[in-house]
């Protein structure tokens, strides 16, 4: 019986090295992901269930969580059309400086987030060039939730562009030509042929941008102003609680973030799998 069970385990692949590969995978994931998360999951309960509940329902915590998740979701959603446009321009057209522009897309990946935060703040602060312009029409950018949104937009963009770019490059030109000969207008061609083909990659790019934005810290704290109840993001609140030696409270907020983010990512992955599901082999 036992050998049959093992045989079934090994069945999916004829490649050698399965025990070693699975062992390393599990060891690595265990050390890097599971153990820290388990500690995080265990830590808050030193407060007791009621304590965790009151730590999480504190208005300041709720406001921070709400700000973090809604701005991250909004930024990821707005990154979708922006990233689509940039990816489209970079793959569909040949123009001088295209490679340079392509490299620029990755810059938010490479830049220390604090540097990005300072640069964005300088731009969008009320006395900065863009901030002053926005202030003239009565919009406050830096030190408001909008500032948080701008920073998250910035860090999430490369994820969307890089997710869709290879798919756009691989898209068979003949399929679009077929659509044209069948009478489709440019808009119909993009809407009915190109976008559905891109949808799974776009969803996964948006998911990555969202995940990154939820956890983003460095670039946001400079531009946000960090006013409790207004522009204080959840990761910052965790740091504040840690500095106050409220380790259990910090872990409670952290656990809440993990649970919500995990749920959102599972939903996004499910959507992506559904879109990619039928007949796209």
């Amino acid at each position: 019986m036992k050998s049959a069970a093992i045989a079934r385990w090994r069945e999916p692949s004829v490649l050698p090295g399965f025990p070693l590969a699975l062992g390393l995978t599990l060891a690595y994931l265990g050390a890097i992901v599971v153990v820290p998360l388990a500690v995080l999951a265990l830590k808050p309960w030193s407060l007791g269930i009621a304590g965790v509940w009151s730590a999480l329902t504190e208005p300041r915590v709720l406001a921070a969580l709400r700000l973090s998740f809604t701005t991250a979701a909004l930024a990821a959603l707005v990154d979708a059309p922006l990233g689509l446009m940039i990816g489209w321009t970079l793959t569909r057209y040949e123009f001088p400086g295209r490679r340079l522009l392509d490299a620029l897309v990755d810059l938010p990946f490479a830049l220390p987030t604090a540097v990005a935060g300072i640069a964005l703040t300088a731009l969008y602060a009320p006395n900065g060039p863009l901030g002053a312009l926005a202030a003239k029409v009565g919009i406050k950018t830096a030190y408001s939730p909008l500032g948080v949104f701008i920073a998250l937009l910035f860090v999430g963009l490369p994820f969307v562009v890089r997710a869709i770019q290879p798919v756009l490059e691989d898209l068979d030109q003949e399929v679009e030509e077929a659509a044209r000969t069948l009478g489709a207008s440019d808009l119909q061609r993009v809407w009915r042929v190109v976008l559905p083909a891109l949808a799974p990659a776009l969803v996964s790019g948006v998911g990555l941008a969202f995940a990154r934005a939820v956890g983003e810290y460095g670039s946001v704290i400079f531009i946000a102003g960090n006013m409790p109840m207004r522009t204080e993001i959840a990761p910052l609140l965790i740091v504040i609680k840690l500095e106050e030696f409220d380790y259990a409270g910090a872990a409670a907020v952290g656990l809440a973030m993990v649970v919500i983010a995990f749920g959102a990512l599972v939903a996004i992955n499910a959507l992506q799998a559904r879109l990619a599901g039928h007949g796209r082999t």
Partner: protein, 347 residues
């Protein structure tokens, strides 16, 4: 003539893809564009579809200037070598696409579209596959879906770009016969690109042979096959053997064989072309071109003999009448091409 192509030229960054092509097709005709790769046949088809613009020339369809119309208003059905199906749509959705993208005023109703799709599924022998996705179909089925999709818009002209190129030999032959039936039933003018001479000769009403962007010969399949205009066409349209010879004072000499040259034979060095099965064999002391047998392979009634004439190696085919000694390696035999053509050689 409904389709008139006049002095069409096209170059891709100085390399000419088509030069001065003039060609017509009759209503409901099945025209094959035949040529090796790089002959410009696909470029010509793509110009007809509107996917390429020519540098010069004119294309008229029923008198209307086709080049002035954008792709989506040309009303041509195009079938691509690699199917180009919409992978995220079912077979039914693929077929209905051309009808569904029409402007509201000319778009058939939901029921009419469904009826048309059902009719095409039936015509293409795809019954029961309407809900499948392209990845769940075989290559032959995919290409039939592509053809159904192209026919759904009731095109004025059907353009096929090596439609069977990606399929294996047996499916190809099956689809070939069936494509001809579909064409005859739909009665639509069809232009078909292929590099497979057998496919072109089998299917088409007329064959246009292209080489390096130039039209070398147009005619009915049998006519082109029997009366090739050049050595290239002879060679391209079937198995061919070539021997070098000389015509002088009305006498043709090939290796050690001399005979009366045909009246229209060019003077000087010539290439003699013949089909490998159109030869008569004779023993070593008989009449004909002397050859040394290198190898012989018997397949039932037919025999393939690889032999050497001077320094040239050619492969002949015999049916029954081969002298038995010709089947031994190193043996000497003689043969005369029963039908051949002479083309002036640039030597």
């Amino acid at each position: 003539m409904p389709l008139e192509i006049k002095s069409l030229s096209k170059a891709f960054s100085r390399y000419p893809a088509l030069s001065d092509i003039t060609l017509t097709a009759a209503e409901g005709e099945f025209l094959a564009l035949l040529g090796p790769s790089g002959s410009g046949k696909t470029t010509l088809l793509r110009i007809l579809a509107g996917l390429e613009q020519p540098d010069a020339g004119e294309v008229r369809f029923r008198g209307e200037d086709l080049l002035a119309a954008p792709v989506r208003r040309r009303g041509v059905g195009m079938v691509f070598q690699h199917y180009a199906l919409f992978r995220h749509m079912t077979v039914e959705q693929n077929i209905a696409f051309g009808l569904q993208v029409r402007p509201r005023a000319s778009r058939p109703g939901r029921a009419a579209i469904a009826a048309r799709v059902a009719e095409l599924l039936d015509l293409m022998q795809l019954d029961g596959l309407g809900k499948r996705y392209p990845s769940q179909l075989s290559g032959g089925q995919r290409q039939r879906v592509a053809l159904a999709r192209a026919l759904a818009i009731e095109p004025r002209m059907l353009l096929l770009d090596e439609p069977f190129g990606a399929l294996d030999a047996q499916v190809r032959r099956e689809l070939r016969r069936w494509l001809r039936q579909v064409h005859d039933r739909a009665g639509v003018t069809t232009v078909f690109v292929t590099h497979d001479q057998e496919e072109a000769l089998d299917l088409a009403d007329r064959v246009a042979v292209l080489r390096a962007g130039e039209l070398v010969q147009v005619g009915a399949p049998n006519d082109v096959y029997e009366n090739p205009a050049s050595a290239f066409v002879f060679d391209f349209l079937g198995e061919a053997c070539r021997l070098e010879g000389v015509v002088r004072d009305g006498r043709l000499t090939v290796a050690d064989w001399t005979t009366t040259a045909p009246a229209d034979a060019p003077e000087g060095p010539v290439d003699l072309f013949f089909r490998p099965n159109e030869v008569a064999f004779a023993p070593a002391d008989g009449v004909g071109v002397g050859a040394n047998v290198l190898a012989a392979a018997v397949r039932g009634a037919s025999v393939k003999i690889e032999c050497k004439v001077g320094e040239q190696v050619i492969e002949l085919q015999g049916l029954g009448q081969v002298p038995p000694q010709a089947l031994t390696r190193g043996a000497r035999l003689r043969f005369t091409p029963t039908r051949y053509r002479l083309f002036a050689a640039a030597r």
